[in-house]
């Protein structure tokens, strides 16, 4: 019996109150046990349900499911009897994975039924006393037991940032900031750690792409996300390499299980860049084959040239489209899902970005307005320099439960990332790209969640897993990043003890990377000249040298959560370690590209970068106040510091080429400390009027010198006043919010450590009005959002644009969306 049929039966149950249960089961076509058993089935193996990430915040409830257990103790049918619909699917999924001692009649195992209560609880609320006659399986929000500071952005939250990048979508979380590029792209920064030090898990798969340029942003369409969970702090033991600053867990919306067609549609227009955005998702389940769901989704985003308050930002037009689909087969003990997504983005690189001599750089900056700004117009032309990036992704997910109680998940993924960069050219007949990189990645993730071990009110959820990947990079055009081929493998184990007053999580992981870079003779000689490689390091191959690296990283983490004052205050403490392997560009790059306007020099001797982190978090819950404050103190060993090179006398180093003297940027391993805090306090979260304040600060210093690192975000804070006035009859709900956002000046970095001094801070005004309305069975949401309403001219310290021009100015966005 499939899931839809089970839910149908449950509805019939509810509609036919007072009718004998056994009769209803029979009417659904089940094998009923007409005889009265002497002993009902006894639960022996639990599974840990997952609290649905798409459930409304604070949603709790209990779902009663009647399971039919065969004479072997296996669940052959499950029917929801009662409970909030949002928890039905997870309840049924787990119900089929429970194991029982079968019912017995005269000592003989027979088919029997049992009612299981699935309790989806707020972990901060004390557990109710358990009746000895009930079987209760508890599921709680993951963030309720995670010792990390984490925030889940729901589909509704993500809809508010429709048409924006992944980084912009998650930047609403305290401690998450942006490294904007020259146009409409952006990279996330979590607690001062940039994109290279963040792990992006998209539908359970590591997102693999080129990350070496400031204009390279994650190629992910946020419309395909149902939730995004932001985990702050090192989390390598749980999630794998690169999770030094945090993890972005991007999960698709749950697939529809009810026969019929449903979906979501969004249409948006924005004033700055005259942007148009539209997105559509369709899920369909046929009544004939209700165990199969088909999904089609796509989005299109077209932006003309963006404008700063005083001038257009020439050549920042961009065009992006995404398309994808999925097919899911569901069986009682297994789920199989095949997905495909294509991302395509063609974007101009701001005309003003060019490699300049230090004197010209400084003069441009002091002039305030780019010299050719008066030529620039707002249009939809993507001119050189530009980039065209595509990302194809195929995944196959298999999820199945074993009779032993272990639940296995295996994900095979293939990602094909293709980046073309078009530089300014000097010949009319040159029409192609000058830089062309293809990154291909195969990966296999296998993980298993063990059966829940219950000791009275305490329980233990174990898990193990392994990961393997094969990756190769192929360039055409200029060999900025050498061809390379790598194998990476890892294994991990974790466990969580959950008690009445809190939880303790332990995890450990071991990863290994073997990579060979194929460096052409010419490039190799550059490294020889710089004494960063020796001939003995790399055996010859036909046209150059093959340079191998073999790296190992082990991680471990321990975290605890204590419900200090039940129903009121939680305290968390996380002690974690995370590592990352140096990327090929950090090892071997020598040169520049349209999206990399400095002369960058890699270091083939770099080793594994490791962060040790300590992070306490306090969270307060009352009906009037909700607050979270999290601090962190991290020591990074062999931090791969990409920054201007200095001479022995402490002066900036220059690379003198025929085109002038360019500031050199290099990578060097240093030990660094990252300390800081982030958090929020919300007054009256459900009240007519409310106020939310949030902020983040990071201090990052080199251990040996005590000097602050370049590129760390300045302090940020914002205050948001919101109101949810009584609604007229014509609409369901409305809300108005006004935000004052303050970005401080990054005043701690020495001016001599960077090409230019840090820009002045800025205060921005943003506002949003949302209206929910219904028409028949359809619900609509209408929103007007305004950002930088005062059209303040400012430059953002973490933006590439800050060397050349102001950030984009006022933007008014109008959005209409519906779920159907």
């Amino acid at each position: 019996m499939d899931v839809w049929s089970a839910i149908t039966c449950a509805r019939r149950d509810r509609l036919s109150q007072g009718i004998v249960v056994g009769a209803l089961v029979a009417s659904c076509g089940l094998v009923g046990d007409a005889r009265a058993a002497d002993r009902a089935p006894v639960l022996t193996v639990q599974q840990a349900p997952e609290y649905p990430a798409d459930a409304p915040k604070g949603a709790t409830g209990t779902v009663a499911v009647r399971v039919t257990v065969d004479s072997q103790g296996t669940v052959t049918d499950a029917v929801v009897l009662d409970g909030p619909p949002v928890f039905h699917a997870e309840s049924l999924r787990i119900a089929y994975r429970l194991r029982f001692q079968p019912a017995k009649t005269d000592g003989v195992a027979v088919v029997g039924t049992q009612v299981v209560q699935f309790e989806f609880a707020d972990p901060h609320v004390s557990q109710p006393a358990q009746s000895p006659s009930e079987i209760i399986v508890r599921a709680e929000r993951e963030d309720g037991h995670d010792s990390h500071a984490r925030t889940v952005l729901s589909e509704e939250d993500l809809e508010r940032s429709a048409g924006r990048t992944l980084a912009e979508s998650v930047a609403v979380v305290p401690g998450v900031q942006l490294a904007r590029t020259s146009g409409t792209s952006a990279k996330p920064i979590i607690r001062g750690y940039g994109e290279r030090r963040l792990l992006v898990l998209h539908d359970g798969v590591r997102h693999e792409s080129q990350k070496w340029g400031p204009d390279h942003a994650p190629e992910i369409d946020t419309f395909s996300a149902g939730t995004i969970t932001v985990v702050k702090g090192p989390a390598g033991a749980r999630f794998g390499p690169d999770a030094l600053g945090g993890v972005l867990l991007i999960e698709p919306p749950p697939m529809r299980t009810a026969p019929g067609t449903g979906g979501k549609a969004v249409i948006l227009g924005a004033t700055n860049g005259r942007r148009a955005y539209t997105a559509l998702r369709l899920d369909t389940v046929s009544a004939r084959r209700p165990s199969v769901t088909y999904r089609l989704e796509g989005s299109f985003n077209d932006s003309a040239t963006l404008s700063a308050p005083d001038y257009p930002l020439g050549n920042t037009a961009a065009r992006e489209w995404n398309a994808g689909g999925a097919v899911e087969w569901r069986k009682p003990n297994a789920t199989l899902r095949l997905t495909y997504h294509h991302f395509d983005r063609n974007a101009g690189i701001f005309y003003g970005i060019s490699r300049s001599t230090p004197a010209e750089f400084k003069a441009q900056y002091e002039a305030g307005v780019p010299v050719t700004a008066d030529l620039w117009t707002v249009d939809r032309v993507v001119d050189r320099p530009s980039q065209n990036v595509s990302h194809d992704r195929v995944t196959l997910h298999a999820d199945f439960a074993m009779p032993s109680g272990w639940s296995w998940q295996a994900i095979y993924a293939y990602q094909h990332n293709h980046r073309l960069e078009y530089a300014q050219v000097r010949a009319w007949y040159v029409t192609g790209a000058q830089y062309d990189f293809t990154l291909r990645t195969h990966s296999l993730d296998v993980k298993a969640e063990g059966p829940r071990v219950v000791f009275g009110k305490r329980r233990f959820d174990p898990g193990i897993g392994m990961q393997g990947s094969f990756q190769e990079n192929v360039y055409r055009g200029y060999s900025l990043i050498p061809n390379h081929r790598s194998f990476m493998g890892g294994a991990f184990a974790h466990g969580r003890f959950i008690g009445e007053h809190g939880a303790v999580t332990v995890a450990s992981r071991l990863d290994q990377l073997y990579r060979v870079a194929f460096i052409q003779e010419e490039e190799f000689e550059r490294h020889i000249a710089r004494e960063t490689l020796k001939h003995s390091d790399c055996p010859n191959y036909e046209n150059g040298e093959a340079c191998p690296r073999n790296l190992t990283a082990g991680t471990i983490s321990v975290g605890g959560l204590w419900h200090t004052v039940p129903d009121l205050l939680d305290l968390k403490l996380d002690l974690s370690r995370a590592s990352r392997f140096p990327n090929a560009d950090e090892l071997y790059l020598i040169g520049a590209a349209p999206s990399l306007p400095v002369f960058a020099i890699g270091d083939p001797g770099l080793g594994v970068e490791t962060t040790w982190g300590l992070s306490p978090t306090a969270e307060l819950f009352t009906s009037l106040v909700h607050a979270q404050l999290s601090g962190f103190a991290n020591r990074v060993q062999d931090y791969i510091y990409f920054a201007p090179e200095m001479t022995a006398s402490g002066e900036p180093a220059f690379n003198v080429t025929i085109a002038g003297a360019w500031p050199e940027y290099g990578v060097r391993p240093i030990d660094a400390n990252f300390v800081g805090a982030d958090g929020f306090v919300e007054l009256g979260p459900e009240a007519l009027f409310g106020l939310r304040a949030q902020g983040a600060m990071v201090r990052a210093t080199e251990v040996s010198s005590g000097e602050h690192l370049v590129g760390i975000p300045p302090d940020q804070a914002s205050a948001i006043a919101f109101s949810r006035p009584p609604t007229p009859d014509a609409i369901d709900a409305w809300a108005l919010g006004i935000e004052v956002q303050r970005i401080a000046t990054q005043s701690r970095v020495l001016d001599s450590a960077d090409i230019l001094e840090a820009p002045e801070g800025a205060t921005l005004l943003n506002a949003e009005l949302t209206v929910d309305a219904s028409m028949g069975d359809l619900s609509y949401r209408f929103a007007v959002q305004g950002s930088n309403l005062l059209n303040t001219a400012y430059r953002e310290y973490t933006s590439l644009l800050r060397y050349y021009a102001d950030q984009p100015g006022r933007d008014i966005r109008v959005r209409l969306s519906t779920d159907f």
Binding site: T305, P312, G314, L338, Y340, Y351, S354, R355, S356, T357, A359, E360, A363, V371, T372, L375, W376, V381, D383, D392, V394, Y414, A423, Q424, V425, R426, A427, W428, V430, T431, G432, A433, Q434, D436, R440, H442, V474, Y475, R476, G477, Y478, S479, N483, F518, Q520, E522, R526, A529, Y541, E542, N543, G544, A546, N655, V656, T657, I658, A659, G660, A661
Partner: protein, 206 residues
């Protein structure tokens, strides 16, 4: 499993099995954007004798550069032609041809205390510069020039090749750029574009 499913699953495997071609490099790719590794200044005096002074960065990364000092004779007038090369190509690529073809996007500027001319008003100049060519729009290009060694002495001259492709379909190379540079004291931030070449030479006039 249906054939279509097999094909769908197998496609990425097939695509991904393409070997990493270690020597794929630049062959067959539309990579040309005129990498420059060498600049030659060919000074031809009134007798027809030519002296060549050059700057070379054969690896293109500044790690192995050589620069000639320019030595001229006081009172002599020179026709000066510029030659721009990419020594990383085999055979060596003459980028001068591309510059000439896209003359409307390029201009050489001669600045520094050694020079008096359209782009520099140095009062201690040892040479005087005038453009001797122009693009299709009648604007100076600087591949051909006239230098007069006016005064004995020694000083520095910056040779800059500025690439100024149109922006928003508007010309960035316009009239009066050299004069604007002169007025700003050689501050290149007052004109658009970016440097293809910027190199300092020591000029000695005997």
């Amino acid at each position: 499993m249906r054939l279509s499913t097999v094909l769908l699953l197998g496609l990425p495997l097939l695509v991904a099995c393409e070997d990493v071609k270690e020597d794929e490099g630049e062959d067959g790719h539309d990579h040309n954007h005129g990498l420059i590794t060498a600049l030659e200044l060919n000074f031809t005096d009134s007798s027809g004798s030519t002296s060549t002074f050059s700057f070379s960065d054969p690896t293109g990364d500044g790690s192995n550069t050589t620069t000639d000092d320019i030595v001229l004779t006081a009172g002599e007038s020179y026709d000066v032609s510029m030659r721009v090369l990419n020594q990383l190509e085999e055979p060596v690529e003459d980028v001068t041809i591309e510059i000439d073809e896209l003359a409307e996007e390029h201009q050489f500027f001669f600045t520094g205390t050694a020079v008096f001319g359209p782009a520099s008003a140095s009062q201690s100049a040892v040479v005087e510069h005038t453009y001797n060519d122009e693009d299709a729009n009648g604007l100076p290009l600087g591949l051909d020039n006239v230098f007069v060694a006016s005064t004995a002495g020694e000083d520095t001259m910056w040779v800059t090749l500025r690439h100024m492709p149109p922006e928003s379909s508007q010309d960035v190379k316009v009239e009066g750029l050299a004069e604007a540079l002169s007025a700003s004291g050689g501050d290149f931030s007052v004109i658009g574009g970016s440097n293809d070449i910027q190199k300092e030479f020591l000029v000695t006039v005997n």
